[in-house]
């Protein structure tokens, strides 16, 4: 019997020698990673950028581990600082295609200030924020994105805070592209990342994700499929939602779609770095 080795079509973009990955069973990050790689592959195929010009930067957290598995120039930087690292890379060598991947804590919590200013500058990088609504790697503490009322290990009586609506924040600062996706709709993740990678200026994709092991277990939904179905029920797809529909609330659910899509000059053009 001949056993042929199965090769995944995305293996060429993966450091397969580093598998298996560290993500828990039922984690949504793998869905985001493969959707992102499909989008990258399409853009490479179109000649928008070359494989060797891709730089993927992560900070610290579950999502920020993604660069360890990617077969590009990759960075596992420090907590919250993936965006300024990426800014330095892009400005020093504008031909590079710079992508930041990170969780909600990394990007919107500790790194929130950098996110704001990169968006305000319309800096020519793409940020993909996987939002699992919790600090998962450290065991389930409160995130700035944890919906009000939910249990975390540091809000044992329920989260008294209002969560940050990152889509609205980034849109308010003038970024060229702002979309919200969900791991329950992988094809849309691919579409939005694909769009983001083809644009000038600051492009941002939030991906709502499921973390059954930490987030789910703490709110009483520890079954991965059940949590996935729960999120799917809460997600409504709209082609071009208005920012008023970007409300961010566990009870009323989430609208995913492309919130901002415009073509203002990016930072490099404003600075005179594009010829």
């Amino acid at each position: 019997m001949v056993v042929s080795k199965q090769v995944h079509p995305l293996d060429k973009y993966v450091r397969v020698d580093r598998l298996p990955h560290l993500w828990c069973p039922g984690c949504g990050i793998g869905i985001v990673m493969s959707a992102m790689l499909r989008a990258i592959g399409r853009r490479i195929g179109e000649g928008v950028f070359k494989e060797e010009d891709i730089v993927v930067v992560g900070g610290i957290g579950c999502t920020a581990r993604m660069p360890l598995y990617l077969n590009f120039d990759t960075v596992h930087a420090i907590h919250g600082r993936a965006v300024p690292f990426a800014v330095g890379v892009k400005l020093a060598n504008p031909k590079l295609k710079v992508i930041v991947v990170g969780g909600d804590g990394d990007i919107a919590g500790i790194g929130g200030n950098h996110l704001m200013h990169a968006a305000r500058r319309n800096m020519d990088i793409t940020v993909i924020m996987v939002n699992n609504m919790v600090y998962a790697m450290t065991g389930g503490q409160l995130a700035p994105t944890t919906p009000t009322g939910l249990y975390t290990t540091t809000t044992p009586r329920g989260n008294p805070e209002k969560p940050i609506n990152v889509v609205k924040l980034v849109a308010s600062l003038g970024a060229n592209y702002v979309a919200r996706a969900s791991v329950t709709h992988p094809a849309l993740i691919e579409t939005y990342v694909y769009r983001a990678l083809g644009k000038e200026g600051f492009t941002f994709v939030e991906v709502l994700s499921t973390c059954p092991e930490v987030f789910g277990r703490h709110i009483g939904i520890k079954d991965a499929v059940q949590l996935f179905m729960e999120l799917r029920e809460k997600v409504k797809v709209k082609a071009k939602p208005s920012l008023n529909e970007s409300y961010y609330d566990w009870e009323s659910g989430f609208v995913i779609g492309e919130y901002v899509d415009k073509d203002d000059p990016g930072y490099l053009r404003m600075f005179g770095l594009l010829r």
């Binding site: 120039d73 020093a92 590079l96 770095l273």
Partner: protein, 374 residues
Amino acid sequence: MRAEYVTSNIAIAEGAMASGLKFFAGYPITPTSDILEYLAEELPKRGGVVIQLEDEIASINAVIGASWAGAKAMTATSSPGYSLMVEALSFAIITETPLVVVYVMRAGPSTGVPTRSCQYDVFQVRYGSHGNYELPVLVPWSAQEAFDLTVKAFNVSEMLRVPTVILSDAMLAHTWEKVIIRNPSELKIISRRKPEVPPQEYMPFKPGEDLVPPMACFGDGYKVMVESLTHDERGYYSPTTEVQERMIRRLVEKVRRNSRLIIDYETYFTSSAEYIFFAYGSTARSVYALVKELRREGIRAGLYRPKALWPFDEGGLKKIASEAKRVFVVENNVGLMYKEVAQVLRDKEVISVGIIDLDVPSPDRIKEVISEWL
């Protein structure tokens, strides 16, 4: 080559441009802001990029990113700003990222007196980051030396793949002096070594004989992994004692074994000196004046002035001080480097002359303190 009348801040900016600076990120802070302003004006004319970022944390992280994108990169700050940078500095150390930080000391703690001088941060600059590491720190005493040591800082940083600090202070920052500004062609400019093997054979953290790994940058086709976790030669996370020990020892040893490239000092009237003064940076200017005065009075005084504060030059100091009866450590703090000197010169009488002065301690003030020991 041209002679200009400039401050140390401007001399540093010129030294950086002569060294091939291509990226500068910074955040305004007294007494350093004019480095950012000067470079914002000048560097783009030479094909470089300058950006004012949202804080010091962003600045140093962007500089690390720019270095990995292939640029010679620098940031400049003062004492509170360096406090914000030390986490990322540790990241630069473990990822062996060449970059230069300009550190202009101002009087603390906290906001202190932002416009005035001190030498309080000689330990913070060296030990402020977490982890176990070596960090070269160069300490100029004049605008000319600020230019010269900036060129050296880039060379050290590029050669050893280690962040390198230029430690200045508020007095030097804004003192105008004549400086010979040399063109790149008149200087020895060193750039990071590139890999000589093809990508499939390249390991980003496999060192050469000098313990320094050749550096492939983003876009070179080598698919490097820049890893803040403890990593092996491939850049892969390896949480074992074996890899941890190998990495830490190499990060430390690559600087120690190559310390001759960093360490430098000047001496004044030290042969046959009965009293040796140890002083650095702006304070050494007053000590120099005092030593000359003492010599005129017939007292056999001499000055040893390190140009690199870290790594600490044990050998040079021991040699110079071997015949001395007493050693005075004069500094604008309560006596910090004194501890280092006393430890090296265990068999000598070492006296701490720590003076707190928002200007450079005057020769008279120093003389008043030491006269009972002469």
